[in-house]
């Protein structure tokens, strides 16, 4: 069964190849709605927005929100500050239009899909692919196939792909600046990160892959990719502003034609 819904200002698609109840798929989309209500920086009434405004105490926030923010703080330390929910205010610059004091969206999308994948597996489903706005989580491959074929979007040609990953039981997260503009900020300067056009990270946890992709965008083609190459179990593929490609050897081994 395949179902697509517009949520989070983007499209979320769920593709399940084992027999499944309608109710399970419906409950996944209810989960995505809950995540939006809790974490969206575009909604004034979300818990994250209210926390940022000082209208909600962290102790009173939902368990999921506290889990997200705890993990984001751990990621901030792990990435040496490159991934930072407070990226927009870390440097002494005024907040620009559309920016938030607390913005976990570089992690939340992947995390929410990872939790949805957990839910699907608990229901006994093995063959699935869930994509939310370009972050993808796959389980066992479709019947008769060895892998899910995940295409990496070409930044300049909308109907083309830059690479194909043969994915099984993994997350594929991409951070890039060709859809929503230069929205990835370097927390040390408050300015947009521009060395890379996009970064795709693959690995066992889509939430981490999502945050790592953001961190590599911030740190760039040299130190960003070297840092990622040292993460056990994670591989990356970066496209530079000059249309060159830098990837880990492990990513290259995952590519299929």
């Amino acid at each position: 069964m395949r179902r697509v819904e517009q949520q989070w200002g983007t499209a979320i698609s769920v593709d399940v190849r084992d027999d499944v109840d309608d109710a399970l798929v419906a409950s996944l989309f209810e989960w995505f709605t809950r995540v939006d209500e809790l974490c969206s920086t575009w909604r004034v009434d979300s818990e994250v927005s209210r926390l940022a405004a000082g209208a909600l105490a962290l102790a009173d926030a939902a368990l999921e929100v506290r889990e997200v923010l705890d993990t984001c703080e751990r990621l901030r330390r792990e990435t040496g500050g490159a991934f930072d929910v407070a990226a927009a205010v870390r440097a002494p610059r005024p907040l620009a239009e559309g920016q938030s004091i607390v913005d976990p969206s570089g992690f939340v999308k992947g995390w929410a899909v990872e939790r949805a994948a957990d839910q699907v597996r608990r229901a006994g489903v093995e063959r699935f692919a869930i994509g939310a706005g370009g972050d993808v989580r796959v389980g066992a491959p479709p019947p008769g196939e060895a892998v899910w074929r995940v295409g990496v979007q070409h930044p300049w040609e909308r109907d083309r792909i830059a690479a194909v990953v043969g994915a099984v039981e993994m997350g594929v997260a991409t951070s890039g600046r060709y859809e929503r503009g230069d929205h990835v900020l370097d927390p040390s300067t408050g300015l947009p990160a521009r060395d890379l056009m996009s970064v795709t990270v693959v690995g066992p946890d889509l939430g981490l892959a999502d945050a790592y992709a953001t961190a590599v965008m911030v740190c760039g083609r040299a130190s960003g990719m070297e840092w990622l190459a040292a993460r056990d179990g994670y591989e990356a593929f970066a496209i530079t502003a000059e249309r060159e490609v830098v990837m880990t050897a492990g990513f290259d081994r995952l590519r299929v034609e």
Partner: protein, 169 residues
């Protein structure tokens, strides 16, 4: 672990050119010298040394002597290309070609890349090998799902992912 990097550094230092070498991102898409760690400058020869003419195709690495005190203005007619000696290393043979204009280094290229993938240069780092390709490919292979920067609901409508979703429903 032996690496490509020290071989190139050794080759370039043998050419005496690395003192103030910097590359900007757009300078040379083929150069992997920009991945090199910074080196300490070599000792400048005394100002009275004449610039040595490079010998192309020589059996030992040669270079013009670069003196920081030299004030000869560079002209386009003063462009020389020097090809260093073949240096065998763990990955294969590496040969470095250096282009000098006047007394300025303008390009360093690895003319023989140690790889069986013609468009990739393998550069090892502490963490593991990182591959760098010159050109981004644009394919239309059969795929199941797309990973990309978060598309908006509006751009989704004309996206590759929406075509896949429509086909699959």
């Amino acid at each position: 672990m032996k690496r490509v990097v020290p071989v190139l550094v050794a080759t370039i230092l043998g050419l005496g050119l690395l003192a103030t070498f910097k590359t900007s991102p757009g300078a040379s898409t083929k150069s992997i010298a920009s991945r090199l760690p910074k080196s300490t400058p070599t000792t400048a020869p005394p100002p009275s040394s004449a610039q040595t003419s490079p010998r192309q195709g020589s059996s030992t690495p040669t270079s013009p002597q670069i003196s920081p005190q030299t004030t000869t203005p560079s002209t386009s007619s003063n462009t020389r290309t020097v090809t260093g000696d073949d240096e065998p290393n763990r990955y294969g043979d590496v040969q470095v070609q250096v282009t000098v204009r006047g007394n300025k280094l303008v390009d360093v290229e690895a003319v023989q890349l140690p790889t069986d993938r013609p468009r990739s240069a393998e550069i090892s780092s502490e963490a593991g090998p990182i591959l760098r390709q010159e050109a981004l490919q644009a394919g239309s292979a059969q795929i199941d799902i797309v990973s990309g920067a978060t598309f908006t609901s509006e751009s989704y409508a004309s996206s590759l992912q929406s075509a896949l979703d429509k086909a699959g429903v």
